[in-house]
């Protein structure tokens, strides 16, 4: 049962299995474990980023494609759902329509970019995706009558997903069963299903071909695999899953805007998480996302405490000032790449041997 669910791809490390089980458990019970809006936001963001990063790993880690257009697909998902709910009204139908259009647009774009440019060398492909993604981000902010420009769009979600909605009147373990909780579980189970789907894809015959293309595309072609077809398909799959991730994020935030979806900063975050977690291991996306999002949200607070505690020590207090959190995140990244070139997952798996 577990074998089929995980597609026979087990974490293959005791520590990793433990960490993953803990992460899934905490995410599954998050609404009952945490009370603050901040903590719930972090949990929801981790869920969405696991999908977003895992789908990017399908490209980078498994197929060896460097793309900078991943946030574009993420943004299409968020805007698709957001703009549909904003302009049609907060109904499930509008949401489905928005998601459908977003998926079609993403697939069409991924197909076009793929067929036009996956024949060229990796570096040119990366440049082309960068150009397309930049153009898309500018388009989204320029078409302000439609997209809300730089401010984005705040919208209402279907009633069942609103905080005011109560599924049952009674509280369960002191937690209200409200729309926010339902939205969270929509995200959680959505992310879980997509992650398991991706795990299946990378362990299918198709997934093996992707790895073969990453290893030696010339040879894969000589074996009878038309690499451009496989690369384009991987591109479309990754684009579709990123679109779903964007839609989930928009539902949680009830907002779609350029800063939360299309910005290049998010693209960099995705890249960092893939590398920190471990390229070519989908579990790396889980561990990496959790660590990165936690650091992003709590490193500052942690540093403030440390800085306050060390006010007497002149240089150290200054170094640990909360404003320096990005510096420390950078140090953390450099160190992790230096010490774990195969990512956290690669390191944990190697420990066993």
């Amino acid at each position: 049962m577990l074998h089929r669910l995980l597609s026979g791809d087990f974490p293959r490390s005791l520590w990793l299995s433990g960490a993953l089980a803990l992460l899934v458990l905490v995410l599954a019970l998050a609404p009952f474990l945490f009370t603050g809006a901040r903590a719930m936001n972090v949990a929801a963001t981790i869920c969405v980023f696991i999908v977003l990063v895992a789908s990017y790993d399908l490209l980078l880690g498994y197929t060896g494609i460097v793309s900078f257009a991943h946030t574009m697909f993420y943004g299409i998902g968020a805007y698709g759902v957001g703009l549909a709910l904003y302009s049609i009204g907060p109904t499930w139908g509008a949401m489905a329509l928005g998601l459908g259009i977003a998926l079609l647009l993403s697939l069409a774009l991924a197909l076009v970019i793929g067929l036009f440019s996956l024949r060229v060398k990796a570096i040119f492909y990366a440049m082309i995706t960068l150009a397309v993604a930049s153009a898309f981000a500018i388009l989204a902010s320029q078409l302000s009558d439609f997209t809300g420009g730089e401010d984005g769009r705040t919208f209402s979600v279907p009633e069942m997903l609103r905080p005011g909605f109560r599924l049952i009147e009674a509280e369960v373990f002191g937690t209200a069963i409200n729309g926010k909780l339902i939205t969270y579980y929509l995200l959680f189970f959505g992310a879980l299903a997509i992650f398991l789907f991706l795990l299946r894809v990378v362990n299918s015959p198709f997934g093996r071909v992707l790895q073969a293309i990453r290893e030696n595309d010339f040879r894969a072609e000589a074996l009878g695999y038309r690499t451009v077809v496989y690369r384009t398909l991987a591109n479309c799959l990754a684009a579709a899953t990123a679109t779903l991730a964007g839609a989930l994020m928009a539902l949680w935030l009830r907002y779609a805007g350029p800063q939360t979806t299309l910005s290049f900063t998010i693209m960099m975050d995705i890249l960092l998480i893939v590398v920190i977690g471990g390229m070519g291991t989908l579990y790396g996306a889980m561990i990496g996302s959790a660590l990165f999002i936690l650091a992003q949200n709590y490193l500052q607070a942690l540093m403030k405490q440390a800085s306050d505690a060390l006010t007497a020590v002149p240089v150290l207090a200054n170094l640990l000032h909360p404003d320096r959190w990005l510096l420390w995140l950078g140090v953390f990244f450099v160190l992790s790449v230096y010490f774990f070139p195969t990512g956290i997952v690669g390191k944990l798996r190697a420990l066993k041997r």
């Binding site: 093996r208 290893e215 030696n216 000589a222 009878g224 695999y225 496989y230």
Partner: protein, 256 residues
């Protein structure tokens, strides 16, 4: 030699800038035969192979498979039509296991590549077939090792196993025994002999070792400076002055 040719090249030519690496080469290959392609270094043997299996696009001329013009098709499409190619420089998937290297060939042959919802490990027959081919090149017990960890000789054997696993109609071996130790060579030569004995396969072999050529080939083609300079019965070709001179490294062009 009564059967129709499986493979034919007509005036096949490729130019790299001003250099003509393969120049107007026409030849036909029939099932059940083994043709050795010989010639000095730089004669265009591997380039001729690349043109046939589609790694390089021809500048002029045609490649015909079963009478069908495949010159415009890519390597993958030609592989699907039965052209199997082993490479001179070992050309593997270095970070995948030995078994997976061969499995990928079996899987391509079975047309499973686009199956993305089944588990690869559920395709038991594919894995068993891959193990069978590994067994034939005496690599079965190393199947779970990473391909890059193999010795040079074992990599060459794996290269042969991948070609066998494709189960092509046309086998193209590019110096299959180069760099192998003396005791490993017979394993590969026996396999080639066996393929030839099947009677319905066409084998093309680029080989430098003349004793190997003599023992296996039904026919020899000699390439020199991109031209086909001799084509025929091994004994005759080997005895011809052109080959003697080509192999002694003297100017053939003057004597032609």
């Amino acid at each position: 030699m009564s059967e129709a040719p499986v493979l034919a090249t007509q005036g096949l030519t490729i130019r790299f800038g001003g250099h003509v690496a393969v120049n107007n080469v026409s030849a036909e290959f029939r099932p059940g035969t083994l043709t050795a392609i010989v010639g000095p270094n730089g004669a265009g043997k591997t380039t001729y192979f690349n043109l046939i299996s589609g790694q390089l696009p021809a500048s002029a001329g045609k490649v015909l498979l079963y009478g069908e013009d495949v010159t415009a098709l890519g390597a993958a499409q030609r592989a699907k039509r039965g052209v199997g190619r082993a490479f001179q420089l070992t050309n593997l998937f270095p970070n995948l296991s030995v078994l997976e290297n061969v499995r990928l060939a079996v899987q391509s042959r079975a047309g499973l590549g686009l199956n993305l919802l089944s588990l690869w490990s559920d395709h038991v027959e594919t894995t068993e077939k891959a193990e069978h081919f590994l067994h034939r090149v005496t690599l079965a017990e190393r199947r779970f090792e990473t391909a890059s960890a193999l010795s040079h000789g074992d990599k060459r054997k794996l290269e042969v196993a991948i070609l066998l696993a494709l189960e092509p109609d046309i086998f193209m071996f590019d110096e299959p025994t180069a760099g192998m130790s003396v005791d490993e060579v017979p394993v590969v030569l026996d396999l080639i002999q066996h393929i030839k004995a099947q009677g319905d396969k066409t084998v093309l072999l680029v080989e430098h070792k003349m004793d190997v050529v003599r023992s296996l080939a039904d026919r020899i083609i000699v390439l020199h400076n991109g031209f086909l300079v001799a084509d025929g019965d091994p004994a005759e070709v080997m005895a011809s002055p052109i080959v003697q001179e080509a192999y002694l490294g003297m100017g053939v062009a003057e004597s032609v």
